[in-house]
């Protein structure tokens, strides 16, 4: 049997089970009338003075960029790992070189204060 066919099967079965649980809950739960007060975003009783979706400072932006760089680096390491025997010494030093370049990037970001939280 092809090794990916069971995954397709698992997708169908899991989606059915999860969908059934969520659908059943939506079906049998009570449905009282929704008032204007109830619809308002929950902020512990305060009336919100700003809707989300407007501009707000995101410090997480730098982290997301770093994440993309390092995630791709690690994805590139996986083929090297699987063929470690075949590529031998050459592959090892190539991988070290690759890791070093990106580590310099991390060190630079670190020294520039990109990893500090204020």
């Amino acid at each position: 049997m092809h090794s990916y066919l069971p995954i397709l099967l698992a997708i169908i079965v899991t989606a059915l089970i999860v969908g059934a649980v969520l659908g059943l809950s939506a079906l049998i739960g009570p449905k009282p009338e929704i008032t204007k007060e109830k619809e308002r975003p929950f902020e512990c009783g305060y009336i919100p003075f700003q809707e989300p979706g407007k501009r707000f400072p995101v410090h997480y932006y730098a982290v997301a960029i770093l994440f993309i760089v390092f995630d791709i680096e690690i994805i590139f390491l996986y083929p090297w790992v699987a063929s470690f025997e075949a590529v031998g010494k050459t592959g090892f030093f190539a991988a070290i070189f690759f890791i070093l370049i990106l580590t310099f990037g991390l060190v630079y970001e670190w020294l520039r204060g990109g990893l500090e939280w204020h």
């Binding site: 049997m1 090794s3 990916y4 066919l5 069971p6 995954i7 099967l9 698992a10 997708i11 079965v13 899991t14 989606a15 089970i17 999860v18 969908g19 649980v21 969520l22 059943l24 809950s25 939506a26 049998i28 739960g29 009570p30 449905k31 929704i34 619809e39 308002r40 975003p41 929950f42 902020e43 919100p48 700003q50 809707e51 989300p52 979706g53 995101v58 997480y60 982290v63 997301a64 994440f67 390092f70 995630d71 690690i74 390491l77 996986y78 790992v81 699987a82 470690f84 025997e85 031998g88 010494k89 090892f92 070290i96 890791i99 580590t103 991390l106 670190w110 990893l115 500090e116 939280w117």
Partner: protein, 361 residues
């Protein structure tokens, strides 16, 4: 072909339902263990006809309560995203189990019987991909809630989970260099080796540092205390603020399912998977002497039991940590992830590769 398909479907249903049942059980275990550690009685009120069973019926009553609650949908521009976000989180967390090998392969009457849904060559990458997809559920849920606190919680959660996902994936590279494979079943088979005839060469023996990095990053990736900043149940309020009924339950359940998934991965890569020390295909063998001969079917039944036991041990350790440590501050969290765990993981990769090259030469 049809027989195999039916067999696979049965295995899938069994695996998914076992995970869900075990996840439900963990909701009780967590409350009970916190109670024991804090010298309280804990959840013990739910009863059927006066029968309490240490509060085990709380699992049932929680489930019924979730179903019976009103499903509230806030006024939002992203109604469809709001509805689909819990589904995404829960579905992908469950899909991670598609590649976990719960037992060895047994050849019976032309069939290959194995408690593993699929065995692709990229096994472990598939599990990580599915774990990564659950972040979408969290981010979309927080974004679609139309609530400032939910949005901030989702941002916190996304930044934390992607940071620790890197540490998680990097920690596993070390052991994978040793195993030379990404296939889950082959990873487990490699760990059957014995060092000096008595010490099982499990991943934790070969790569102790990687194990601790993996467990820590795993706890952070599944939003457990001390890393529960995306949720912060009581004070800082998280991404699931506007959710109610079973859709909230889906997010809560995703946590437990992911916790089981991380434990399963840790057991597969570092604790020998379904391997039992000295248990070969003929029974228990120690230094060439057969101590106890067993039939293949009995061995095949012992293996999932051993796997389950190891998963329980890992989850127990995670829960001990959860109820012992207080929550990290956000800058401490980022400091630990980027400045300590990531460099350590890279150093581990380089040293492991170097040692293996020297050993081979």
């Amino acid at each position: 072909m049809l027989g195999e398909l039916i067999l696979k479907t049965i295995i899938i249903v069994v695996v998914v339902n076992t995970v869900l049942a075990f996840g439900g059980f963990l909701t009780w275990v967590e409350r009970k263990q916190s109670a024991v550690m804090q010298d309280r009685i804990g959840a013990n009120r739910a009863s059927i006809l006066g029968l309490r069973l240490w509060g085990l019926f709380h699992i049932l009553s929680d489930g019924i309560k979730m179903f019976a609650k009103e499903e509230f949908i806030p006024r939002t521009d992203h109604r469809k995203l709001f509805l689909v976000a819990p589904f995404i989180a829960w579905f992908f967390a469950l899909m991670g189990f598609a590649v976990i090998p719960f037992s060895n392969t047994l050849h019976v009457a032309g069939y290959e019987l194995s408690l593993q849904i699929a065995n692709p060559q990229i096994g472990i990458l598939f599990a990580f991909a599915m774990m990564g997809m659950t972040i979408y559920g969290l981010v979309l849920g927080g974004w679609a809630s139309n609530n400032n606190y939910a949005l901030l919680g989702a941002m916190r959660g996304a930044a934390q989970m992607i940071s620790y996902e890197i540490a998680l994936a990097a920690a596993v590279v070390g052991p994978l260099i040793v195993y030379h494979t990404l296939n889950m079943q082959e990873i487990v088979l490699w760990q059957a080796k014995l060092w000096g005839g008595w010490l099982p060469l499990w991943g934790i023996v070969v790569q102790p540092l990687a194990f601790f990095l993996f467990i820590t990053a795993g706890a952070a990736g599944t939003k457990r205390v001390p890393f529960d900043l995306p949720e912060g149940e009581s004070e800082i309020i998280g991404f699931n603020l506007e959710y109610s009924s079973m859709r909230f339950g889906a997010f809560m359940f995703t946590d437990f399912v992911e916790k089981i998934l991380v434990s399963c991965l840790a057991v597969t890569v570092f604790l020998g998977g379904w391997q039992v020390p000295f248990l070969t295909e003929n029974g228990f063998v120690f230094r060439g002497e057969t101590l106890l001969a067993l039939s293949p079917l009995v061995i095949w039944l012992i293996q999932p039991a051993a796997f389950f036991l190891k998963v329980c041990v890992v989850i127990y350790v995670l829960m001990l940590v959860r109820w012992t440590l207080p929550r990290f501050r956000y800058d401490q969290l980022m400091h630990l992830g980027w400045k300590i765990m990531l460099p350590l993981a890279f150093a581990n990769i380089v040293i492991t590769g170097f040692v293996l090259l020297v050993l081979k030469a």
